[in-house]
């Protein structure tokens, strides 16, 4: 076999592989979108499963808002995830800066502590927290989820922020200090503007982490007016009757914001993910 043929063959193999994987990713998503656009009668017609919606309709989406109060779930999710992400971003800037720019006693231990919190199973923290929140009357409030999402997402975000800081050469700050900048001025006027993409990436991490969470939501929240999107959608799964069309419509809408955020910020999110997790 000539080397040219060999190369062509390996290119062909690569293309086939990439195509197969693309298909594996797209098909489940397609199936969810297709189901969400079918009327109920078409969905439960098991004899003639249609691969393309025959009578595309938006009735599932309409029902989601009119019958199941999806608007309120989205509102709760946005409030909780948004506030969590803002606070996490601020705290991560502070601790990330300290981790990156100072060497101090106990730094290794604190970093290790941050890393270890990432290994503790969430459910282990949720049960005692549930008791605390129950005593404090915080069950069924957005505040309970805010606290939980804050502490579970913070360590990773702080470590990631540290690596974003480390990428900025210290000489930049030094130059600013020589010119008479104070520490705060240096941080706010020089470093943070350069780091803006990294800051947005951390915000995205925190937001996605809170937006997607189900388990703590089902435990801390039981009244329907406080349901977040995953908790509310889960309640649509009845024992005998599942409204698959509505459920799929809800799923599509739940994925949209995170998918858009990820697509727009992909480069920085990927950078953060690779540096933060490996460096630990």
């Amino acid at each position: 076999m000539s080397s040219k043929m060999k190369r062509n063959l390996s290119t062909l193999g690569r293309v086939l592989l990439l195509a197969a994987y693309l298909l594996a990713v797209i098909l489940p998503i397609y199936w969810m979108v297709a189901t969400s656009l079918k009327p109920h009668t078409e969905i439960i017609d098991a004899q003639n499963l249609t691969y393309i919606p025959q009578n595309p309709t938006t009735e599932n989406y309409e029902q989601l808002f009119s019958m199941y109060n999806y608007g309120s779930m989205v509102k709760n999710s946005v409030i909780i995830s948004g506030s969590t992400a803002i606070v996490i971003t601020l705290l991560s800037i502070l601790s990330g800066y300290a981790f990156a720019r100072y060497s101090f006693k106990g730094k290794g231990t604190i970093l290790l502590f941050f890393l270890i919190t990432q290994m503790i199973p969430g459910i282990l923290v949720i049960i005692p927290l549930y008791l605390i929140f129950a005593n404090a009357g915080l069950i069924n409030t957005r505040f309970s989820l805010f606290i939980y999402y804050l502490v579970v997402n913070l360590p990773f975000c702080a470590i990631t922020m540290r690596s974003f800081f480390e990428r900025i050469p210290y000489t930049l700050e030094e130059a600013a200090y020589v010119d008479g900048c104070t520490k705060w001025q240096g941080l706010f006027k020089i470093i943070l503007p350069i780091m803006f993409p990294g800051i947005v990436a951390v915000f995205v991490f925190a937001f996605i982490g809170s937006w997607n969470e189900l388990i703590a939501g089902t435990i801390f929240i039981s009244t329907s007016d406080m349901w977040t999107v995953p908790v509310g959608l889960k309640s649509l799964i009845g024992k005998y009757d599942v409204k698959w069309g509505v459920l799929m419509a809800g799923g599509v809408l739940a994925l949209l914001p995170t998918a858009i955020m990820f697509a727009v910020m992909q480069r920085f999110v990927v950078e953060g993910l690779t540096s933060g997790a490996v460096k630990g």
Partner: protein, 326 residues
């Protein structure tokens, strides 16, 4: 309790503000002052550190205490220490062996496949081609997706009666009867594992792609000149270069996969009859459908012991890497 939390937050804010006031004063007096310089990083880290210490420390201690108590939420007046009764109950649970085995199979199978597929995908993506950016944006998407929605997707696709998977398999002539995927022991866990793989491949691919792109091109050129074959090239150059990343991601991912059970809750609920239940999901079930917090905490302690042993190995291995043995 609410006021305690408010007080705590207030305290942190005040301490933080006071600390900086002090620093400012010192700085004005003497810019070179050692103490202020030394305190600065602690002030920056304090809010996050205290928050985490409180939020993780207290619950963990509490879990250990509860594991030795008769603590049932439905009998609020009857909380007392019962020595090892919870642990005895736990280990005499006739399903515990099955659940242990499930956890093991679930972690090994899904992490193993995620790793393999992620590595292959990253190798295929290493060379630039037209549309690579768009391709990546699509196939990495599952990373940002909610496990809950992914669970819904798989639960619906593998639905015994209306599911698309059965329909496809019948049309392809691979099966003649519809399979009750989620109602059959073994198969229900398989569906969970498939969903987990689908969700986790992007993480590995992203990490390995970054590692691959940091390998200097001239190493490969030299190998080409020496007439190195593709297989040899992978094992002699590529793999050694990305080995630290491989170890790190495998170890971390194992913990995350072990701990996460939202897919199980959504797809099977642990069924049929605990055949897709893992240790953390069982803990969730025992705590919030039976409200036996004592037993659940005992399970939690077992979980902690397993993870601690694992973490020690993990830290040993990573230190080995940081020592620059590479």
């Amino acid at each position: 309790m609410l006021w305690q939390i408010a007080l705590y937050i207030l305290l942190v804010v005040i301490l933080f503000a006071a600390g900086f006031r002090l620093l400012r004063k010192h700085e004005k007096k003497n810019r070179q002052l050692q103490i202020s310089k030394k305190l600065e990083p602690y002030l920056f880290i304090m809010p996050a550190f205290l928050l985490l210490l409180l939020a993780f420390g207290y619950p963990l201690v509490n879990s250990v205490l509860m594991s030795f108590q008769n603590y049932k939420l439905i009998e609020p007046g009857k909380v007392y220490f019962n020595n090892f009764a919870n642990f005895k109950n736990l280990f005499s649970d006739r399903d515990i062996g099955l659940i242990m085995r499930n956890s093991f199979v679930y972690v090994i199978a899904s992490v193993g496949m995620q790793f393999l597929l992620g590595l292959i995908l990253s190798l295929a993506l290493k060379k630039k081609f037209r549309g690579r950016g768009v391709y990546q944006a699509i196939v990495f998407l599952p990373w940002a997706f909610s496990a809950f929605v992914i669970g819904l997707m798989f639960r619906w696709s593998f639905n015994g009666e209306y599911g698309v998977v059965n329909d496809l398999l019948i049309k392809l002539g691979l099966i003649t009867e519809k399979i009750a995927w989620l109602g059959t022991p073994g198969l229900s866990l398989l569906v969970v594992i498939l969903a987990m793989i689908w969700m986790g491949v992007p993480f590995f691919a992203i990490m390995y792609l970054a590692a691959l792109q940091s390998i200097p091109e001239d190493v490969y050129e030299a190998a080409d000149i020496d007439g190195c074959g593709a297989v040899r090239r992978f094992f002699a150059i590529t793999f050694p270069y990305i080995k630290p990343t491989v170890i790190m991601t495998l170890l971390l991912r194992t913990i995350w996969v072990f701990n996460s059970f939202d897919l199980i809750v959504v797809i099977t609920g642990g069924g049929p009859a605990n055949h897709s239940q893992t240790l953390p999901s069982y803990m969730y079930t025992r705590a919030f459908s039976g409200y036996d917090f004592g037993l659940a905490s005992a399970l939690g302690v077992v979980l902690m012991v397993i993870l601690a042993v694992y973490a020690v190995i993990f830290l040993q291995v990573t230190k080995y890497n940081k020592a620059g043995d590479f």
